[in-house]
């Protein structure tokens, strides 16, 4: 059975305190892994797509990495505006839909 598990469920960081969010997945035939950011009451905002183990992508203070079993979203020197829920989703080969985890709620304290 396909599964996407994100940890931790919630994370509180001081401004400037770097950390990582984890997304572990079990899916037959991964086509791609996606990271989104979602602010309360709004739609998810696309961040990254990763397609193969060893791939890395960066955007400002965020860096996403992928292995055969999990993905990490590293946040370097976060700012309060990075506070949001970060969602991980997988897409199987031959399928069109995204299968989401339940997200990590990040709070960055000034």
């Amino acid at each position: 059975e396909d599964q996407v598990t994100q940890s931790p469920e919630a994370l509180r960081l001081q401004e400037g305190e770097s950390s990582s969010l984890n997304c572990s997945y079990t899916v037959s035939g991964l086509r791609g892994l996606f990271w989104y950011r979602q602010d309360p009451g709004k739609g998810p905002e696309f961040l990254f797509t990763l397609y193969s183990a060893g791939e890395e992508k960066e955007k400002e203070r965020l860096k996403a990495t992928l292995t055969k079993k999990e993905s990490f979203l590293h946040i370097t020197a976060p700012k309060p505006e990075d506070s949001a829920t970060y969602l991980c989703a997988v897409q199987k080969a031959g399928a069109n839909n995204l299968f989401f985890g339940t997200g990590t709620r990040l709070t960055v304290i000034p």
């Binding site: 086509r31 989104y36 739609g43 696309f46 969602l87 069109n96 839909n97 995204l98």
Partner: protein, 112 residues
């Protein structure tokens, strides 16, 4: 460049009623997917439309139906509303079936 738009923003209905939600995809996109997001959960896939046909469907009952128009916009219809249908309904668009999906702001549906 307009992103994905959805209407209405909020909607309140009573049990048993029917509702129609609307979505306009991002400029240049031809594929629309619909997701349901309950509070504190990740979005769950309802179905996807491409070339005016339903291409894939998630585990949702037939009360959920949709349509895609020639201009690529889409509607989601839900019949015989249940309390459990209360959620944020998200539309996502992409260029063809397998590319990155970009989400709209969502429609908050409350069923009383």
């Amino acid at each position: 460049d307009a992103g994905v738009t959805q209407s209405p923003t909020h909607l309140i209905k009573t049990r048993g009623q029917q509702v129609t939600l609307r979505c306009s995809p991002k400029s240049g996109h031809d594929t629309v997917s619909w997701y349901q997001q309950a509070l504190g959960q990740g979005p769950q896939f309802i179905f996807q439309y491409y070339e005016e046909e339903e291409r894939q469907r998630g585990n949702f009952p037939d009360r959920f139906s949709g349509h895609q128009f020639p201009n690529y916009s889409s509607e989601l219809n839900v019949n015989a509303l249940l309390l459990g249908d209360s959620a944020l309904y998200l539309c996502a668009s992409s260029f063809t079936l397998y590319n990155e999906q970009f989400f709209g702001p969502g429609t908050r549906l409350t069923v009383l």
